[in-house]
Symmetry: D2
Subunit: 349 residues, 4 copies
């Protein structure tokens, strides 16, 4: 049977889903159409972000996921797509800003208490990516205006395997440090009990690279990478942190190329989400100033706090504090080099 | 009654309007979801562009429209919003490009003959803005795949008052040249019968400003601005062209500020539409190469021809060929200066 | 004499101004070239922003500046150009982000203590726009690393007429409220001594429009718009604030169109500067984490504080809190309407 | 020795390289500053693009370049940086468009015959990437306004190893088809003498996948991929084309991931260059209409022809016409699979 564009896209539904509240009150406000359409466009894209996230979570849940496989390539490709979509969503705020505050006032009072704060898809997405209830600004507050069915979806996402948790598991699985045989030849300046020779050596090199004013970075390093410090606050284990740092340091090796692209994409997602919240906050501020949003709260404050605090992969970002110059990197044992995709020689980019 | 975001945006409709054809054939292709969502987002924005265009057309249809009124301000504001939306639509192609050709092949055959070429909203929009059947690449071709009800909508738009026609009427209404009394003092170097003294003088100045290699610009000037030449091809009258050129030249006068912003916005709309077609064409080329699109044609060729030919306000753009240096502009009579918003003195920006 | 592109642009200078420090140390780091070029591009654009700002300041300094004149049109046009440049500068961060933290480490230590924090052009620009010493995060800190000659430039800018001050003066000059004769017919529900009848009435209408939770907005309104409260913190006078609010409310009138575009452009400049600082901060964070920048400080903290506090036109932004619905706006006296560009009737957009 | 930002960036040079011609003629035109600064910014970025291209060419010239090595990773990373820069350059046209045609007329005549057409860096870049003299629109024309020293640079680039040539060599080196032993088990439906079994089979599958209207694609396929047809026009050999197509088809295999990213990046560079030319052309058209540019020619026509014809990696782009559905891909022999990074199984993404 022939398929027609109009039916295929179900345009009868999509293009007939805009009913202006201001019209129902006989106070038709021209800009309400824009308000509806832009939010519908956001929700369409949120659906797409969910679709990509779900597929990534499904792949990352496979116990046999190989670090250089087409599956991991697919994960990186889809994360990059998510980034591209997020950039578009940031840009989309430009369109919202063509609505002036007085244009908004023309229909604002008709919408109460509906507000973007009730976008359950966005909150569910944060949860799927790995934002935990405890990290939320205002804790319970973020679900206070949602329907039970949508709260349930978010709670389910919080309870399930988030991308962050799967990342942690996947990182912890990295085999190289456990291959004791291969590390026999590795030279360590400063051995430490219970610490793998590579990390003992790296800690020594890192510590030497610090400027005077940076000296207490060493403690942070120990806390995050060596010991399992600050247990309650942290979201990835020290073991996973070590694997991630190793990937960042030796990303030149074939086996670590895709893993590095993966980590980088996650940081970029956090950065785009943060940009979106920040521009969103500025836009809300410009639109309603100190007035109260249709959702009954000062939207600006929530968005600001979220922009400052809701970094999901923040411990991965922190690892950037613990890098050293490439030419001072410890030379890996030849056997490990082979395991990572080719023989010998420290990696030079 | 309290309004909830979810109902207000009719998300039950919007988020349940994605049925994958590939899934129906048990050959689920992950990227088909993106394909559907992005086209739905495009159609949502097309709806918004129609909504803005309709409101602009309604304002421009009022016989008493004043050149400095809030109505004209509203027109300019909404045209600028359309530009902002068009920029977003150009950017949106970045998202489509995250789909690789092989990802597309995974479901392409399931869609035939549906294709973006069947987007009647886009064609109707072109018609409302002023694109005529005769200017269309391939003439009848552009409606060949549409349903009768959608063809009718487009034909109706082509038959009605397009923005371009209303612009023509509005420009022709410009009163200043008809005020004979006010031009008595105006000095003309080269009078010409049947030509208003201002234009006789301007033609003289323009002609003097031309470099040798540009000399036949004078003929183009006469054709477009003085006589009503090339009648069949042209879309605005010589009278309207004169008014538009006058606005461009003397835009420093208060009464001409908004009219200038209006003309500029129309050129920008053409430029964004052109960018959209061009990037779209490149994207299609990259996606299917010399293969045939789901619509059964070489999408690239149509898009290329449209990008080259479908300029709607092209005669306004051509007027940019007929400008001269600001300091050589004829000094307007004092009375005309007052009519344009303040006394005397040639305008300097 | 014939001019050649190469000489005209002085490309011998421009293209030979990149000396890599890492090369001098025989540790050539590929990415240092990007680091130099991108900062040079920033400084070129800062020069252009200064050039535009200076020309705007010169126009705004003219005592006879007319609200509907080509001069004001020029101001708005150039402010919009500045916005377009600022958007580009925000985008430019994407290019910087193609440098990974380890690529940066390859030459970071060679640059100390040079850092972007020493961009005196940027700080001078902030000062010219209106950022005062007292509003600076960390006060003296911001000049601590600059040469005396550059500190002097900034101090001079702080001492001179900033765009903000000129805006204040220009707003205070608005004549309409002083034309007592014209306001005789104006109806006031709630007179108040020493308060102009329009503002007495507007305060009444505004207060009625507030939701319960917004009630103390009335006090803010009085503080900022009626009394000259919070004298030390404020940067525009109550008189100027009233003029600005009036412009925002009645922007449909011909005489207020350009003034409204002006106010809007200033808010957009603040927003783009804020976006730039925020993305810059995120980029720095990703590049050096908790390490110390080449300038010896935690660049991130300064940038974050600046992004949160360095809003220059913040009182104009606050006025958005004091708007009411268009259909509830007080009807202006007929005479005032004429003065604003046409007779009677409340403005509807 | 301490380094200061101001000296490090040689700002005394950079910020003192703007001399307005209009000022020398005592006809100072405000917008000439923008004209100079934006072109200098372009030339700075062109220098950076050369720097990246040179480094990529150096790496690609190494005979021992490994397909999965850090070197290839570096190539891909730097190509992606070039793309990011090109996107910025496209965006930069927005800034140029804040100059209106009349603003340009204020100084245009002072610049003759200088014009952007004299940007030898850009033409040299095209040559380094692989654009040959024969492919140039108007042949000799493109160097007609350049100084001999710059013509020499371009000729040298045309004579040397371009990125396109190195790509060809690198692709031809692909070893897998030569490993006869490994293909013994491969099943072919339609053997052909002198044709490798894989390509005989692939041609069969491709041909079956074509719709009726696409049937002569088979000839194009033979011409470009099997025989070395159209020798004079083509820029990569059939052997290289086969390797590139193989990479596109089997990019899921670990060894082909980076090669695929490389090919994709090259297509993106062509697309961005094309976008730049197209928007540039539109901008020039809007600025001078049918007037002649400062360079004495109709800039628009050259830019349009270049946008249509100057695709450098066009044969790689054409390969997208020759893909088939992933699930119909021939299954590779187990031994080849191992050579490509893992055992057996057709790749599913």
């Amino acid at each position: 049977m022939e398929i027609h564009y109009h039916d295929y896209l179900q345009l009868d539904k999509i293009l007939n889903a805009q009913d202006l509240e201001s019209k129902k009150h006989n106070l038709e406000a021209h800009d309400e159409m824009l308000f509806i359409v832009i939010h519908q466009a956001y929700e369409l894209w949120f659906k797409q972000l969910h679709f990509e996230t779900d597929s990534i979570v499904a792949i990352m849940s496979r116990p046999e996921l190989n670090d250089n496989s087409p599956e991991l390539q697919t994960v990186v490709h889809r994360l990059n797509r998510m980034i591209t979509i997020l950039r578009l969503l940031v840009h989309q705020i430009d369109v919202m800003e063509t609505m002036t505050p007085m244009d908004f006032l023309d229909f604002r009072d008709r919408l109460r208490p509906a507000s973007g704060f009730q976008s359950w898809q966005f909150k569910e997405l944060e949860a799927k990516l790995g934002l935990k209830f405890d990290q939320r600004h205002g804790k319970e507050y973020y679900t206070s205006q949602l329907r039970q069915e949508h709260v349930d979806l978010i709670k389910k996402a919080e309870g399930g395997n988030s991308l962050l948790q799967l990342l942690n598991t996947w990182l912890e699985r990295m085999p190289f440090f456990d291959e004791e045989e291969n590390w026999k030849s590795f030279v360590v300046h400063n051995k430490a009990e219970g610490v793998h020779p590579f990390w003992a050596e790296y800690r020594y090199q890192y510590s030497n690279s610090l400027a005077d004013a940076e000296k207490n970075n060493s403690e942070d390093f120990d806390e995050l990478v060596i010991k399992n410090g600050k247990e309650k606050e942290r979201t990835i284990s020290a073991k996973a942190a070590r694997a991630a740092l190793f990937i960042m340091l030796y990303r030149g090796y074939p086996m670590l190329q895709l893993p590095f692209q993966l980590l980088n994409a996650l940081l970029e997602i956090d950065e785009q989400l943060s940009s979106w919240r920040y521009r969103h906050m500025n836009m809300v501020h410009r639109m309603i100033g100190r007035r109260i949003g249709t959702g009954g709260s000062s939207g600006k404050d929530y968005l600001k706090a979220a922009a400052d605090k809701h970094y999901i992969f923040r411990e991965i970002a922190q690892l950037n504090s613990f890098l050293i110059e490439r030419r001072k990197l410890p030379l890996l044992p030849r056997e490990i080099g082979i395991r990572l995709g080719f023989a010998g020689n420290n990696v030079k980019e």
